[in-house]
């Protein structure tokens, strides 16, 4: 099933970050051969005056959806300025608000992110805030009118995948806008897990970009995201601590007309 998000129908729930890629020319293959539709691009990496074959803008397929991000912003004012510049440069109104509170674990500043979201929603952007997984913050953002929330799966560097599962589930269960899990996903099984617990999409950067073979790693993530989504839509059985035989009573009741 497609995802309706930010005013668009998106078929592929795997979003890809571009900042760490060894070579931008891979983007076209991801778009054509794996049908990745959404690419995250840092405004601070865009140089519109760069010569041909240098600026990332040269490498993004015309029909791909560009999610500009505000990485480098330290507060809401800077994030708003970067978003405005990003929209101007890319003509895309999708913006991932990324306000670093801290660079080692790459933890976002939720408070400043809420402020920036308020302003950018009013400015007509489709807003995708990157947050620490906090349900109350997610609810406030939903009220403001953001297009989705992007909680981190686990801090960058931990590579632990969906380590904040209980907090992520709370968000997924309690808000009605899409939830995109961002950061901390190190391998395809993590992405599958994210989809199994009900995330609407995942955004992967490091795990694909720094792989020995980014194209095929993207393929692996694509399959994992699809597998996890199908399983989620069907409904997964609850895990049990021990095997449970059907009771005689259950058998009797089930055999009744």
């Amino acid at each position: 099933m497609s995802l309706y998000i930010g005013g668009k129908e998106i078929k592929n729930r795997l979003f890809v970050g571009t900042g760490k890629l060894p070579d931008y020319s891979i983007i076209e293959r991801l778009y054509n051969e794996i049908q990745i539709e959404v690419f995250a691009v840092a405004v601070r990496r865009i140089n519109p005056e760069a010569g041909k074959g240098v600026s990332i803008l040269d490498f993004l397929p015309r029909n791909a959806t560009i999610m500009v991000n505000t990485s480098g912003a330290r507060n809401h004012k800077e994030a708003v300025k970067i978003a405005l510049i990003g929209r101007e440069l890319t003509d895309s109104d999708w913006v991932k608000i990324e306000i670093s509170g801290e660079l080692k674990y790459l933890l976002p500043d939720n408070e400043e992110t809420i402020k920036a979201s308020e302003i950018l929603v009013k400015e007509g952007f489709k807003v995708f805030p990157y947050i620490s997984p906090d349900l109350i913050v997610a609810k406030k953002l939903e009220d403001i009118g953001v297009s989705a929330v992007m909680p981190l799966g686990s801090p960058i560097g931990s590579n632990k995948g969906i380590d904040c599962e209980i907090l992520l589930k709370a968000i997924i269960n309690e808000i009605s806008i899409p939830v995109i899990i961002d950061a901390g996903i190190g391998k395809p099984s993590h992405a599958a897990k994210a989809m199994e617990i009900g995330a609407d999409a995942v955004l992967i950067n490091t795990a694909i970009a720094t792989s020995k073979d980014p194209f095929h790693m993207a393929k692996a993530f694509d399959l994992a995201v699809k597998a996890g989504r199908i399983a989620y839509e069907i409904g997964l059985p609850k895990e049990k601590e021990y095997a449970e035989a059907s009771s005689p009573l259950e058998n009797l009741i089930r055999s009744m007309e």
Partner: protein, 368 residues
């Protein structure tokens, strides 16, 4: 306070000189947080097998934080006028050399030459001289540069917070200031007079610059002046202090090896290639997300080898003379350049290594 941390570093240095500690590399690398003592033990260690492990670990951490990307920048020497008498420097006031200062038109000429190669990050350098290159001169150079580069960094004399604020408003994005050595006594001996004489004022430069609004700072030591372990150890702790205190500012470190030009100063400590690699790897393993710059003072072989193994920024096409890019007649050099390859050649090497040469590292036009 950084003063307290450096005092503590002295105590640990003293202690560790008395008893050699064994390095259990696997145990240290598996730790969430490496202690000061372990950090020092890693710097002092000399086993090849540990160095290899550190290198591999360093590669993984660098990829996680920076991806397959090497950022390029070019230094631009604006002037070699200097009022300081640093004993190891080719531009020292004691040196009877021709002094040159670029005019506004010449700065633009040089920039245009640099821009032919897609470079988008510029490092503006002068000597320590507020008379020949006053604040207004630096301000003008920053203003000119911001129309051509997304990143404008200065490596000039230390300034006041209010001055940094004005520069930031006019396009400055970063400040680089090398402490050269963290040994206060030796520092005083090597900087007998001039504006560079004040150890502590210089040491607090990065903090003042951050308070003035820059979003990235670089600190560094000049290897060869002092016991390198002491300097690298203290510089790492200084970087960590800045990372913790200003957790959303990008902190970079650099530790060029002394390569003198036109003076008789001899290095006091020789730093082998292996030691140099160790310092890079240990810095990465301990500081994680710190940026590490390597200059053209190092040989092409070493620079190429290090792509992927810890460094994140490279200077390219560096001329260490004033007017080196466009003038026919230039000044003498500040130091010897080992890697004299052109920018295109360096870009090609980075690509061949499976890395993406990145030119742009900040929002075009700035956000202030």
């Amino acid at each position: 306070m950084i003063e307290r941390i450096l005092k503590e570093a002295d105590l640990i240095l003293e202690e560790i000189r008395k008893e050699k500690i064994e390095v259990d590399i696997d145990e240290i690398l598996s730790k969430e947080k490496i202690s000061y003592k372990e950090l020092l033990a890693l710097l002092l260690d000399d086993r090849d097998e540990n160095l290899i492990k550190l290198g591999e670990w360093s590669k993984k951490i660098t990829e996680r934080y920076f991806g397959k990307v090497i950022t390029l920048f070019t230094p631009l020497y604006l002037s070699n006028y200097c009022l300081s008498g640093c004993k190891y420097c080719g531009f020292s006031a004691d040196n009877k050399i021709d002094r040159i200062k670029l005019s506004r038109e010449e700065i633009i000429e040089e920039i245009k030459e640099i821009k032919k190669h897609n470079i988008d990050s510029i490092l503006l350098l002068t000597g320590c001289d507020r008379i020949n290159t006053p604040f207004e001169y630096i301000l003008e150079a920053v203003e000119i540069s911001k129309d051509y580069f997304s990143e404008v960094i200065v490596e000039v004399y230390p300034m006041e917070i209010e001055e940094y604020k004005i520069l930031v408003k006019n396009g400055l994005t970063g400040v680089t200031q090398y402490q050269e050595t963290y040994n206060e006594k030796l520092y005083e001996e090597l900087h007998p007079y001039g504006p560079k004489k004040n150890f502590w004022y210089r040491l607090h430069t990065q903090e003042r610059a951050i308070k003035g609004g820059v979003w990235e700072v670089t600190l560094g030591v000049l290897l060869g002046l002092n016991d390198p372990v002491e300097d690298v150890f203290k510089m790492i702790l200084h970087a960590e202090y800045l990372q913790r205190k200003f957790s959303n500012i990008e902190v970079n470190i650099s530790f060029p090896r002394l390569r003198t030009e036109g003076i008789s100063f001899k290095e006091r400590f020789h730093i082998t290639d292996k030691k140099f690699l160790r310092f890079i790897f240990v810095s990465r393993v301990y500081l994680k997300n710190v940026g590490i710059t390597i200059s053209t003072r190092e040989s092409p072989t070493l620079r190429d080898m290090l792509i992927g193994y810890g460094i994140t920024k490279m200077s390219a096409g560096s001329r260490t003379t004033v007017g080196g890019y466009s003038r026919e007649k230039t000044s003498s050099k500040q130091f010897k350049v080992e890697d004299s390859r052109g920018i295109e050649e360096i870009i090609e090497v980075i690509r061949k290594k499976g890395y993406r040469p990145e030119f742009t590292n900040w929002v075009r036009g700035g956000i202030v």
